[in-house]
């Protein structure tokens, strides 16, 4: 019994340290010319882009990491200041959210930070000496060289192995098919071939950059789908679709991963 308990403790330590290691790991994306977009996409057409080398976080930024920033700076998120965070609970019609300003994260310190706006994400990046990936960088890293909208191994049909998404037909009933109704701890699902976790699902990831549809307005863009996204509504857990959101909006399915130059 004692051996078993020790074994369990050891296993827990190994698992925890493994996740912790992933959280702090950056994947190098070499400089080069990469294909992005899809020939069938109007908004994200097939094209080649050239980027400098960059290092992208293996996981989405966690509550633990964001808390470090908050404790060091006393930063108040926009949702805390303006009480306008939006959260979800089963029973809501598609694309409907509830007002909430509490954003409880008890027991979720290894989950991606949510309830933060694009503006908050930029503030974190400035403090941490990192930045958001550009729209192209995110796609290059997410697709990992695949010519399709999914990285090698992932398909529309088996996406559940790689992504924490919503498996219910709609959002009127709760869905815990994959073990998580809302966010999952980072690195809980299988990574892409480059070792990036949760590029699809879990939380939408803010990127920097603008699109023609912005028409000059300041708009935030986030990619990769989220735990809320189902095959019947949203369906953005892929390497092509690009979302748009008010840069001050704080949703419980919006987060980010960071990039550093070296």
């Amino acid at each position: 019994m004692a051996v078993n308990r020790t074994g369990i403790i050891l296993l827990f330590i190994l698992l925890y340290s493994g996740i912790f290691a992933q959280e702090n790991r950056f994947i190098k994306i070499p400089a080069g010319t990469y294909e992005v977009g899809l020939s069938t996409s109007v908004e994200n057409p097939l094209r080649k882009v050239t980027v400098k080398a960059f290092f992208i976080a293996a996981t989405e930024l966690t509550n633990t990491a964001f808390e470090t920033f908050v404790l060091a700076t006393g930063y108040k998120t926009e949702a805390e200041r303006f009480k306008d965070a939006l959260v979800f609970e089963p029973g809501l019609e598609e694309f409907q959210w509830l007002d909430d300003s509490t954003g409880g994260i008890t027991g979720k310190m290894d989950h991606p930070v949510t309830g933060i706006s694009f503006t908050d994400a930029l503030a974190y990046c400035k403090w941490a000496g990192v930045r958001l990936p550009t729209l192209d960088e995110w796609e290059i890293a997410a697709r990992a060289g695949s010519p399709t909208t999914y990285f090698a191994g992932a398909t529309y049909e088996n996406i559940a192995r790689y992504a924490n998404i919503w498996h219910g037909f709609d959002h009127l009933q709760s869905d815990t098919t994959d073990g998580f109704m809302y966010t999952a701890p980072v690195a809980r699902f299988k990574p892409n071939p480059l070792g990036l976790y949760d590029v699809f699902g879990n939380v939408f990831e803010f990127c920097s950059g603008a699109l023609p549809r912005d028409k000059g307005r300041r708009v935030a863009h986030a990619r990769g789908g989220s735990w809320w996204c189902s095959k019947n509504a949203c369906n953005f857990f892929n390497g092509t679709d690009i979302g748009s959101v008010n840069p001050h909006a704080s949703f419980s399915n919006l987060g980010f991963r960071v990039v550093k130059e070296q």
Partner: protein, 247 residues
């Protein structure tokens, strides 16, 4: 001359500008996907909105305080709702962005970029539906374009009484396929039997349909939707022969 050209181009890009614009072309953002700006107290409401933008840079949606909102007249509240959506729109409302000629959508685009109507704005529209329809009729009288916000308001209030006026507008602007979407949403929301039993219902609103489902647009489909919508209107007004069930 160059400056004048630039100013003209900027004006063209403004939301709501171009009520007298011609039919949409085959590509780009059609005029009926823009907002119609009601003229009821527009300047006062715009000034009211500016007063509320005092805390941070904002993109359209800083909500007025309850007291401020209540201070608006009925007509001003309508104008406020039509030009100032108070709520953030979710990042992945993908169907909001796309317009594809030759396709019919199950649902209307939000039309408010990254924002949407708040619950109190929707509540206002619903609880004042007769007034809202009166306002919409006045705004659209002789108008070349019915903006996306007006059609959204019609759906929110289940404004089936607007069907004949919309059909008349559609005869002038057959390229505005959002009229057909509006008709379908009204009928689907009310589970109107003739539409539910049609081959169009299941792919767009059926149990296995996707939220952003689309179907091909053609003349047959258009004629069916308009005729069925008129039947729905007659049913709702009690003019339809007895024995036809809507639910």
């Amino acid at each position: 001359m160059r400056i004048l050209c630039c100013m003209f181009l900027i004006l063209l890009s403004l939301p709501g500008f171009g009520q007298s614009m011609g039919p949409a072309k085959n590509s780009g953002w059609p005029d009926f996907r823009r907002l119609t700006y009601p003229d009821y107290g527009l300047e006062q409401v715009q000034a009211f909105i500016r007063q509320n933008k005092d805390r941070r840079e904002s993109l359209m949606n800083t909500p007025a305080s309850d007291g401020g909102f209540d201070s608006l007249s009925l007509r001003e509240k309508f104008t406020y709702a039509m030009i100032h959506p108070e709520r953030y729109l979710q990042n992945c409302s993908g169907s909001e962005y796309f317009f594809r000629r030759g396709k019919l959508f199950a649902r209307l685009s939000s039309g408010y970029n990254e924002n949407m109507l708040s619950r109190r704005q929707i509540h206002f529209l619903k609880t004042n539906r007769d007034s809202v329809m009166t306002f919409i009729r006045a705004i659209t009288r002789g108008a070349n374009t019915w903006g996306i916000n007006l059609k959204q308001a019609i759906i929110e209030i289940n404004g089936w009484e607007m069907i004949p006026a919309m059909a008349a507008y559609h005869r002038q602007r057959p390229d505005d396929t959002d009229v057909l979407t509006t008709f379908m949403q009204l009928m689907a929301n009310d589970v109107f039997g003739e539409f539910v039993q049609s081959p169009y219902y299941d792919p767009l609103y059926g149990a296995q349909s996707r939220y952003n489902a689309i179907i091909d647009y053609n003349k047959t489909t258009e004629t069916f939707i308009i005729n069925t919508a008129m039947n729905y209107y007659k049913y709702r007004t009690g003019k339809r022969p007895s024995g036809t069930s809507a639910k």
